[in-house]
Assembly symmetry: C2
Homo-oligomer: 258 residues x 2
């Protein structure tokens, strides 16, 4: 968060996929760091069963030292959080008893305003254009009525980002990922280690590519890659044969989604 420059005081929610140590042990330290930096704003933590107990067993020195309130909610499949213009949904992942995948789904966005066409129709900048954007029909000084559809394009679907967490290939995650702009999916192993992937309840890069392909997502990012791959190009190469638009996610990578 320091390296990414996200700040520690902003509205923040933490969504935990499952209660394995490599996914939760950093939380108490994060809360301490936020306290050292003087955070005052409430922070919410969502996760599967056990998240409340885990927070309650943080060392007393950590709990007493917090400078801000924390809340938590144990989450299951369905809607987990409703934001101002987005929803966070959860679905069961296939990684032991209680593992979740999450989807960030933005509300549909208004259509684009066609400024060129508005110019042609003689609509002045200002309140008339705003009214059209809001979906209202307006009447120009010439007496001509302009309907929103003449200058405003169709409503555009919001961005959908799906994060699988740790998981094996799962049909229900295919449905959950349907049409996503970005699917960030477990790609721990390459295809030669398919047995290891099953034993560890993880996916191969090809499992991830199958999900991406079957769900019709726009782009797949493989993550949770085993430390054995110093060079991850084999993962991208194998996955790309099944789903062309695949990348291997890198720490602190920033991507534009429009």
């Amino acid at each position: 968060m320091m390296a990414a420059g996200t700040g520690f005081g902003r509205e923040t929610r933490i969504f935990i996929t499952h209660m394995h140590g490599d996914h939760i042990l950093g939380i108490p330290g994060l809360l301490m760091t936020m306290s050292l930096l003087g955070r005052e704003r409430r922070l919410e933590i969502y996760g599967p069963g056990g998240v409340g107990e885990y927070l309650a067993t943080m060392p007393v020195s950590v709990r007493r030292g917090l400078t801000f309130p924390i809340g938590y909610a144990e989450a299951g499949p369905g809607r987990v959080y409703r934001g101002k213009d987005y929803t966070v949904l959860a679905e069961r992942a296939k990684h032991g008893e209680d593992a979740l995948a999450y989807a960030f789904v933005e509300d549909a966005r208004r259509g684009r305003f066609d400024a060129h066409r508005a110019e042609e129709l003689g609509i002045p900048e200002g309140p008339l254009r705003s009214a059209l954007v809001r979906g209202e029909t307006v009447t120009l000084s010439s007496g001509r009525a302009v309907h929103p559809g003449e200058v405003v394009g169709p409503e555009r679907p919001g961005v959908k980002i799906v994060y699988s967490g740790d998981t094996q290939y799962s049909k229900s995650l295919v449905e959950f990922s349907r049409g996503a702009d970005i699917l960030v999916h477990d790609g721990t192993f390459d295809e030669s280690l398919v047995k290891d992937a099953e034993a560890a309840m993880h996916s191969t890069c090809v499992d991830a590519a199958r999900v991406a392909s079957e769900a019709g997502v726009k782009k797949l990012y493989l993550f949770h890659v085993s430390a054995r791959y110093r060079d991850t190009s084999i993962l991208k190469a194998q996955a790309s044969k099944v789903f062309q638009n695949t990348e291997v996610a890198e720490d602190l990578q920033a991507i534009d989604i429009t």
Copy 2:
């Protein structure tokens, strides 16, 4: 430990000074990493009251995933651990209810063998010299008896390293640090922030230098320096006026002690 190349499979003991989050939150992750790397060797953890409870409340996924046994002991002032040729001692530090400082005290080492003098006396290399080193009197082929004191110097004290942990200035830590080769002491603040040091139960660099000077140590390393000091030269400068041989410890710094 990775960067320092210490390895994760060796005989390892962890000595915890106190149960504040910034001193214990890394332990579960360390144990997980050791398990991922296949450690099998038992690991012992020593610390003040609460260490056992803390380990017991590690997430079940961490505890069940350990590939090696762990043991713990709650420690107080006095001898904490006796190694093959060294002892680890603890003393109360002044940092809240239950904080400890530790000393690593090596056993006295045999005196140096004076090879030049042995040559002069006509003692051949081999068993006779070994016997002298062990403290036995030997008789040369000439019939001359040689006493160990003729070729073996006086016993040399072992190395003593004291680690204060988080602490305010403490008279008992002066006694505990007596004659140490290295004192690693809390030096969180510079002298202008003496009030902050008191409020936070930490030391200024000058507090640390007083301990070093009064205990007659050979070298002082300041540690636990506040993140506000991007340039730590002010700490060294202030402390050096009270105790000349002061350095500010750096992460991963390696020092030779002979």
